[in-house]
């Protein structure tokens, strides 16, 4: 993307019908470190790369518990992500207080998307520079959603955002059809392998990644470092090779829910 005369204000349309400020906000998401989510019928797993800026500092927190049944992983401007997590926690707790019942994740995601949309239509605001992978439960089961700075949201079987997420997406695209019936352990393993793909050669250690799980009968929680290291060791001992993809007919689905939005010339990303 190049600078042009329509990209100063979020409230200025370009002649091609694009809002460049919103698209730039989505670029910010691509610069953040990777976050990956995948779901089965009963569980959802979040995994992300957590690199500290120097050896002296602590790691950036990228996964937040929003409620017992909802969690979120962020990529992009983490400060924006923190603010949105606080909003989500507030909404959940208010709903719980009024109705003594957990807020269905599908409804929270819509509220979040509407909040992001407001920032694309006010001249005195700017879009949130963070992409959110929201995982949670509602009456119908486990869900994974991606919330975009544009105010769009999508439901996914599996998705990855942030830098070098394409490598993870390629891995997930090959295997997502099996995820619905996956066990909890297989799901976590697939998440860790996806994280390893984004590291591109660097050794996968529990000190640089965070994993969180939520499921039916299992509250959202972040796995501790020891457990994660044990899981990494378990599948790395078996072999560095990716487990063979089971034959499920055409592994390539044209309407693959894990497919990345097409980055064609001229098509505005938020339209997809």
């Amino acid at each position: 993307m190049f600078r042009n005369q329509y990209d100063t204000d979020v409230t200025t349309w370009s002649p091609a019908g694009r809002l460049f400020q919103v698209e730039y906000a989505m670029e910010a998401v691509k610069q953040g470190s990777a976050a990956i989510g995948l779901r089965s019928k009963t569980h959802v797993v979040l995994a992300c790369v957590n690199k500290a800026s120097s050896e002296l500092s602590s790691h950036q927190k990228k996964i937040f518990k929003v409620d017992d049944h909802i969690g979120v992983a962020i990529a992009g401007l983490t400060a924006d992500g923190r603010v949105l997590s606080r909003y989500m926690r507030n909404e959940c707790i208010n709903y719980s207080f009024t109705y003594e019942s957990p807020l269905p994740v599908g409804r929270l995601v819509v509220q979040l998307a509407d909040k992001a949309q407001v920032c694309t239509q006010r001249s005195w605001k700017r879009p949130y520079g963070v992409g959110l992978l929201v995982v949670g439960l509602d009456e119908l089961g486990a869900h994974l959603y991606y919330n975009c700075p544009s105010g769009n949201y999508f439901e996914y079987q599996a998705f990855a955002i942030g830098s070098r997420s394409q490598a993870a997406k390629t891995y997930l695209e090959r295997r997502f059809e099996n995820f619905t019936d996956s066990s909890r352990e297989d799901l976590i393993k697939d998440a860790l392998i996806s994280v390893r793909e984004t590291l591109q050669g660097e050794k996968l250690k529990s000190s640089i990644c965070t994993v969180a799980v939520v499921g039916i009968g299992e509250a959202f929680h972040i796995l501790d470092q020891e457990t994660v290291q044990q899981l990494i060791d378990a599948f790395e001992i078996v072999g560095e090779d990716e487990p063979p993809v089971p034959e499920v007919g055409d592994a390539e689905a044209d309407q693959g829910e894990a497919a990345a939005p097409a980055a064609e010339e001229g098509a505005a990303p938020m339209d997809i």
Binding site: F97, T98, Y99, E100, S101, P104, G106, R107, V110, D138, E139, L140
Partner: protein
């Protein structure tokens, strides 16, 4: 007619004249119990204006959404206000158009919040509410009072029902009552209320809620027995009286 702005003094605002101070048209007891397939609720159709039994066809039980049934005693206009609040609540719930819906537990919690908030503003909704329902096989029966006291139980009653019907239910209620037994038990309670509660009328409805939905019966009357020997010659013990 001029309105003198400080005619009521500086201590009470004009808004005070809008607060509920006493109930005017009231409904009497509601009785409800859990049975094998769901909830049974009974209420008579009377609306009293003080001690006058003024209105005799008032529906004091209404279905809420797909899963719940609300019965109310107390000020009937406040009950109608509550139905409007719940109408809006259910409408917005349906407008989400996702697979989620508010069940009886959620409606009960919401009503508790509404009643308690109104009580805090010294402008209560003068009702005792009974909220029953079934969702995904789970039965729920709860009560909220006008000051926001709320609880769940296997059988509940409002007003006089608390004093006259609950003892019967405590003795005779058990888990997995059949529909017929449940109705018989409710009718027993309603008959006692009819004999002893001055504001009861002999025209009642029984409502049933199960996983399949809500049905409210047509109004009917209970058979009563007045053939006691003491009634045939009531002045036998006091000649000249009537």
């Amino acid at each position: 007619m001029e309105q003198k702005p400080f005619s009521r003094g500086l201590l009470s605002s004009e808004a005070d004249s809008q607060r509920t101070l006493y109930p005017y048209v009231t409904g009497t007891s509601v009785v409800a119990l859990k049975y094998k397939d769901g909830i049974l609720m009974a209420a008579d159709m009377g609306g009293s204006y003080g001690s006058t039994l003024r209105y005799k066809t008032v529906e004091r039980m209404k279905s809420i959404g797909k899963h719940s049934l609300l019965g109310a005693s107390g000020e009937l206009s406040d009950f109608q206000e509550i139905l409007r609040y719940l109408d809006e609540l259910i409408l917005y719930d349906n407008m989400w158009d996702d697979g989620n819906s508010l069940g009886p537990k959620e409606v009960h919690s919401y009503l508790t919040r509404v009643m308690y908030n109104r009580r805090n503003k010294f402008n209560p909704l003068w009702n005792s509410l009974v909220l029953g329902g079934v969702k995904n096989g789970q039965k729920y029966l709860g009560m909220v009072s006008m000051i926001g006291v709320n609880f769940e139980d296997d059988h509940v009653a409002t007003g006089f029902g608390n004093h006259l019907a609950r003892p019967i239910l405590r003795e005779e209620w058990h888990e997995n009552l059949s529909f017929e037994d449940g109705v018989k038990l409710l009718e027993k309670c309603m008959r006692v209320l009819l004999y002893r509660d001055r504001s009861a009328v002999n025209k009642l409805q029984i409502a049933k809620i199960t996983d399949e939905g809500v049905t409210v019966s047509q109004p009917y009357s209970l058979k009563t027995f007045w053939g006691f020997s003491a009634f045939s010659n009531p002045t036998a013990g006091a000649e000249g009286s009537w």
